[in-house]
Amino acid sequence: MAEHKLLEVTDLRMHFFTRDGVVKAVDGVSYDLDRGETLGVVGESGSGKSVSAMTLMRLIPMPPGKIVGGEAMFRGNSLLTMSDRDMRDIRGNEIAMIFQDPMTSLNPVYRIGKQLGEPLRLHKGMNKKQAQERAVELLDLVGIPHASSRVKDYPHQFSGGMRQRVMIAMALANDPDILIADEPTTALDVTIQAQIIELMEELQQRTGAAIIMITHDLGVVADMADRILVMYAGRAVEYGTVDEVFYRPMHPYTWGLMDSLPRHDMTEKGELCPIKGQPPSLIHVPAGCSFHPRCPYAKERCRIEEPPLRAVEGSHLAACHFAGDSDFSRDELECAGVSA
Amino acid sequence: MSDVTDDAKLLSDAENSPTTAPETPEPLKPQVTRTLWGDAWYRLRRNKLALVALTWLLIVIVAAVTADLWVIPLYGPPNYINTQTAAADRLEPPSIHHPMGTDDLGRDVFSRVVYGARISLTVGVAAVLVSVVIGLLLGALSGYYGKFVDTTIMRIADIFLAFPYILFAILLLSVLPPSERGMFPVIVTIGVLGWPSIARVFRSSILSVKEADYVEAGRAVGASDARLMARHILPNAVAPIIVYATMSIGGAILTEAALSFLGLGVQADPVKAPNAVSWGRMISDGQNYLMSNPGLIVWPGLAILTTVLAFTLLGDGVRDALDVKMKD
């Protein structure tokens, strides 16, 4: 029997069926995750990166959502077809998730200790006292001073950064195999961001958990990730190791992303290079390659045929018809950007 | 003091209205340049329930206004007792001659219901107008000038609000001798009871608009207080008032009916108001005949119910159309 990867996602598709049309929020996402590995999922707002993670956790209301294709295997078991009961056993236990806005992610009327203890009591059957003790340990673990007295406080008595630490503690309470972090630093100050990232890396070392880090910040991903998945309009367009994607990107969208990063080591002033155009509406996704209206290299074929996510170089995948062709390369741009 | 429940009530009305659609993005339509009001009218037209309500109200209003032309010739005046036929005609069930039957004095019930609409609508709208005028004025002063003026006015509002509603109305009206009672005191009473809520809503509207950038900009250019108030603050703060006022009309009608039921409301006066009939009074008179002719009570009750419901639904529709978020 082949050794199962921790998580295998294959061509996952999840659509929302609304009055105004079908929103193809997730339309072809594939990746693997090994123990202890960190996957960075990057893309613009609306690219479907958060929604695809929520789909894995089955946190999407169905209706109006519906899984229309693909598979997600966790340790050989299908996350998409298992019973609700089994799914609940996994949530907060073997797979945990933290969210973007720490200010609103905690219940304002319960003390921190009680909320921290909830996953412990739910999945590990601890009683109130045990859970409370463990909660104090967890607070300590994530670097909250005076943990034993803070555990009795209410969320509004914590700052944003501290609340995010609490969220991390809550997620790690049951030693999950996978931690999904949905834009965990976006709502925080830059200095706090660095602290949180550091904390997550440290805890990952300690616990050996795999992390799926969803973010639109390429800098965060460059630091933390082992592999990167680039998403556009609900589809995975590039997938590879962090070196592959950063130094040898294959997909025009990834090129555009890299080019749009402001550089701080320029010697002369120049203009920034945004990608022209807007991301498409997920109800009216362009035919063929979803990126073609904005792609400077688009050909006739791109308008008609949807490019599959295929291997271009070993395990480096890209969803472009011309990726890897010898004569297909990035143009030099006049504006400031990462050089090819 | 009860701000939380006021907000909760208003929000609950927004959430609970049958006309509020679940949230879906607007379909992409070419955007024609429209005014704020034109836009609102367009949205209102799309709201089916509100349109039904509006239609019903228009029917009622037209029927009431033109009553003299068609009701009297067909069914007889509402208060006129034909002494010769009264005994024979009394307490009849519905028929072609009398669509809703007759009451204990031989009077046609349908005619009474239509004329009752006049009273209810007049009192409803007039009373709310009184509340709005007082409420806008005081609310504006309170919101704009703040500090001492604000505290005093709000304290007075609290005093008015502390009175149990019906009890206060009864007190005010019972002080008047029966000869003085009629539509005017009722309008004044209900109007006076209603101003604190309007003042509060308007005040909070003003408070949120006052700090807005475009007002600062106006001030920076040297506009006077009054000008700022009229040109900038008022138009924006007025939308919630329109919604609240529309819905209040329903409440005013209910109160008028209650006061008439208790005998404190509109009376028929052979000289000054020969056709004055109140639905509430009809219900109270009909109580004696509950066993034999419940219709005497059912018809006016339904009239009240449908009219108030129509105003409420219309208010919901107006709120959705103006896209007023009544929650702070």
């Binding site: 945990a96 219940n107 | 009890l167 509950l290 009240i304």
Partner: protein, 325 residues
């Protein structure tokens, strides 16, 4: 939090004085003369008239009358009824318990039905239950309460009696003193009184629950692996109920102010009925005394509700801001 309570109590005082002052004004600028009314048709000798005026203190300037009244109030003396000559205290003590009984019965209905319907409507949003709930609450809110009462009297008192050959019906008038019979008398008035409030309570509960369900912390609760009912019970309801509880509390206050309409329709001998009747008879001591007591009760309950809100919401109870990083 003490600050919060203190402020509320402080607001209470000027309002109380303002209210009693207004009340007093209403009853002193009266065109009608209560003593003449008591005399009725019989003419009264001027001497007797003056004597009565003096006895009741009507011959003094208004501000003095007001002060006298406040003094008496402070001593717990509410004067004597002009119509019946009985002490106002007695009249109030007799009728208030009936109002309290009715109010509590109505509140129980409001809590069970209102909160229950609201929860079901929110949990099963857009379903048949939800639509029915929304429609029926919209209608209830537009109904005249007294009309509902009369309709209930008809259906359960008259029609039901006829339909069951006089065997089964509910009493529709008055309140009797003893045990079960008293309960039967309570049913229809309580339902009537509760109707509009229950509709509002259901709407508020529903909208609060819907709003809470959109909050991020509910998503967190699901992500922890809680079952949907667990999320509802432990996280959603606790937050959503706060404004609902406040509303019901204030409603209790309003009901304790004497539900005049309901009490009139059902001949329920509560304080609302008593005050209304006294107002018609221009029996001012009763009106004034009754209203003052009622006002006091209502304002007191409002104060309690305000304070309880501080306890229910930890953000107010422990106002303290966040500690540093």
């Amino acid at each position: 939090m003490l600050q919060y309570i203190g402020r509320r109590v402080l607001q209470f005082i000027p309002v109380f004085f303002g209210v009693t002052l207004i009340l007093f004004f209403i009853t002193t600028i009266l065109p009608g003369d209560p003593i003449k009314m008591r005399a009725g048709e019989k003419s009264m000798s001027p001497a007797v008239y003056q004597q009565l005026r003096h006895d009741y203190g009507f011959d003094q300037p208004w501000y003095k009358q007001y002060i006298n009244y406040l003094e008496a109030l402070a001593h717990g003396d509410l004067g004597t009824s002009i119509s019946t000559g009985r002490p106002v205290n007695e009249i109030i003590a007799e009728s208030y318990p009936y109002t309290v009984e009715l109010a509590f019965a109505a509140i129980v209905i409001e809590i069970i039905v209102g909160v229950g319907v609201g929860i079901v409507a929110a949990v099963k949003r857009y379903s048949v239950w939800d639509v029915m709930a929304t429609l029926s609450t919209s209608i209830l809110v537009a109904l005249p309460v007294f009309w509902l009462g009369i309709m209930l009297q008809y259906i359960f008192g008259i029609w039901l009696k006829g339909a069951t050959n006089g065997n089964f019906y509910l009493p529709v008038s008055g309140a009797s003193g003893d045990g079960f019979s008293s309960f039967a008398h309570l049913i229809l008035p309580a339902i009537t009184l509760a109707s509009v409030s229950t509709a509002y309570a259901a709407r508020i509960m529903r909208s609060q629950l819907l709003e809470v369900n959109n909050q991020d912390y509910i998503r967190t609760a699901h992500a922890k692996g809680l079952s949907p009912s667990g999320v509802l019970r432990k996280h959603a309801l606790k937050n959503a109920l706060i404004p609902v509880v406040t509303f019901i509390g204030l409603d209790l206050g309003a009901m304790l102010s004497g539900a005049v309409l309901t009490e009139t329709v059902f001949n329920w001998p509560g304080i609302g009925f008593t005050i209304a009747r006294a107002a018609f008879a221009l029996d001012y001591p009763v009106v004034f005394g009754g209203t003052v007591i009622v006002l006091f009760a209502v304002m007191f309950i409002n104060l309690l509700v305000d304070i309880s809100y501080a306890f229910l919401d930890p953000r107010i109870r422990y106002g303290g801001g966040s500690a540093g990083e």
